[in-house]
């Protein structure tokens, strides 16, 4: 399987990448690790006459931790996320999720920026970033702007990023909340049948804050305000977990595919959401 012909670019700064994007418009695309894009190009489901490889741009790399403020360069690989000791302390939910993505070879190449920017409902990082209330930095010819992960996703493969913009960095504030990323998949390398990220903190014997987001259960990631609201103020007992799970289930809209019909997906989602909440609580 060989893709159709393309012109290859490896710019060494963001300006160089933007110049090619501006010149070729829809005919140009950027590539991070390539482990979503290359398979699509090989299947000829994606045609990219002008391919911009971002591997040479040093400013897209690196993880910076400044107190609770965390900044991750778009070209940081899943392997880098997993191996970074400071990040494992500051935001352990990232490591827990990254370890459940694909397989070791794919994690060495696959990047966090590609994962969030692609807009594939099966990607794990978008839901996680909504759970963390992360912001994405977008750079274009007209300057730099930030978009909240919770506002970024419009439909499958459709995001708030303009075609001529580059997603360069992800920022969020770390919390000491109890965390969990639960994922059900058919096999190694498959996308989630259902996955759920949860961050929960206690305030005395009550839940003080809760954030719940889901992966691959709609055409976009789903952050459920109602699920969080159902938990806050409760003791986190079985009734509260059930109420939060029901609220989260009311916010999803899965479609039937080779991972199962809608009823099955809702069933699996219910179990995964409850597990994520219970495990995050056990760590809160």
């Amino acid at each position: 399987m060989i893709p159709s012909r393309f012109e290859y670019y490896r710019p060494d700064d963001i300006r160089g990448a933007l110049a090619v994007l501006n010149e070729h418009g829809d005919d140009a695309r950027v590539m991070a690790g390539g482990h979503s894009l290359i398979p699509m190009m090989k299947l000829r489901m994606a045609e990219v006459p002008h391919l911009i490889d971002l591997q040479g741009i040093a400013e897209l790399r690196g993880i910076a931790i400044d107190g609770a403020e965390i900044s991750i360069g778009a070209m940081t690989t899943q392997h880098d996320l997993i191996a970074h000791a400071g990040l494992a302390d500051a935001a352990p939910i990232l490591r827990e999720a990254a370890l459940q993505i694909a397989d070791p070879q794919v994690r060495y190449m696959g990047t966090v920026g590609g994962n969030v920017a692609n807009g594939d409902p099966g990607n794990d990082m978008p839901g996680l970033m909504q759970c963390l209330d992360a912001r994405f930095e977008l750079v274009g010819a007209d300057g730099t702007r930030e978009v909240a992960a919770r506002d970024f996703y419009e439909a499958a493969y459709m995001t708030a990023r303009d075609d001529e913009e580059l997603l360069t960095r992800i920022r969020f504030t770390a919390t000491g909340a109890g965390y969990a990323y639960e994922k059900q998949k058919r096999k190694i390398g498959d996308y989630a049948t259902a996955a759920c990220a949860a961050l929960i903190s206690r305030d005395g014997d009550r839940i003080g804050s809760a954030s719940v987001a889901m992966t691959n259960l709609s055409d976009v990631p789903v952050w459920s305000q109602a699920a969080g609201d159902a938990l806050v103020g409760s003791t986190g007992d079985a009734a509260a977990i059930k109420a939060a799970t029901d609220a989260a289930l009311a916010d999803i809209d899965p479609t039937g595919d080779n991972r199962g019909p809608v009823e099955f997906k809702k069933h699996v989602a219910g179990i995964i959401i409850s597990r994520a909440i219970a495990r995050a609580l056990s760590r809160a």
């Binding site: 060989i2 393309f6 070791p104 390398g189």
Partner: protein, 163 residues
């Protein structure tokens, strides 16, 4: 959209060749450099038969463009041992029946080599997790895991003896 010069260091040897950017690393290795250890298996980044080491990372060479690999240092199974002087991993795969048909074996050994560089003393569970990107349809994995654990023990014993 013509060919471009691609420079690769493969198993310590420098190569400079002409390739279209869209050519896949696996095809460059096999067809242009006659390095046929890495195999074409599924061609969809699932099976791991094409695994090579690129700049210290295990990668599936069916999912890397030739142009992307320009400037890279690559190690294939040919760079680990020779028929007369097997690498410890090759020796242990032979000893513990870690292969039957052998199709997946170059990818398995190349991946296991990187795994043991990163984690010289893995548990059985860590071996299974670290090898999850390589599929074998013959062995049922049990003997592959045994071979890698045995190689880790051998390498650690050799390291201690050298100290």
């Amino acid at each position: 959209m013509g060919k471009q010069i691609v420079k690769l260091t493969v198993n310590g040897e420098e190569h400079e060749l002409l390739a279209e950017p869209r050519e896949l690393l696996i095809h460059v290795l096999r067809e242009k450099l006659n390095i046929t250890g890495p195999h074409v298996g599924c061609e969809t980044s699932h099976c791991g038969a094409c695994t090579v080491d690129m700049n210290g990372r295990s990668v599936k060479s069916c999912t890397v463009f030739a142009a992307q690999a320009d400037g890279a240092e690559i190690t294939t199974v040919e760079g680990l041992g020779t028929p007369d002087n097997l690498h410890v991993l090759q020796e242990m795969f032979k000893e513990h029946h870690g292969l039957q048909c052998g199709f997946c074996t170059p990818g398995m050994i190349t991946r296991a080599h990187r795994l043991l560089q990163e984690n010289p003393n893995p548990t059985e569970e860590e071996v299974r997790f670290g090898m999850a990107g390589n599929i074998c349809r013959c062995t049922g994995y049990q003997n592959i895991v045994k071979s890698i654990l045995a190689a880790a023990a051998e390498l650690n014993a050799a390291r201690e003896a050298a100290q």
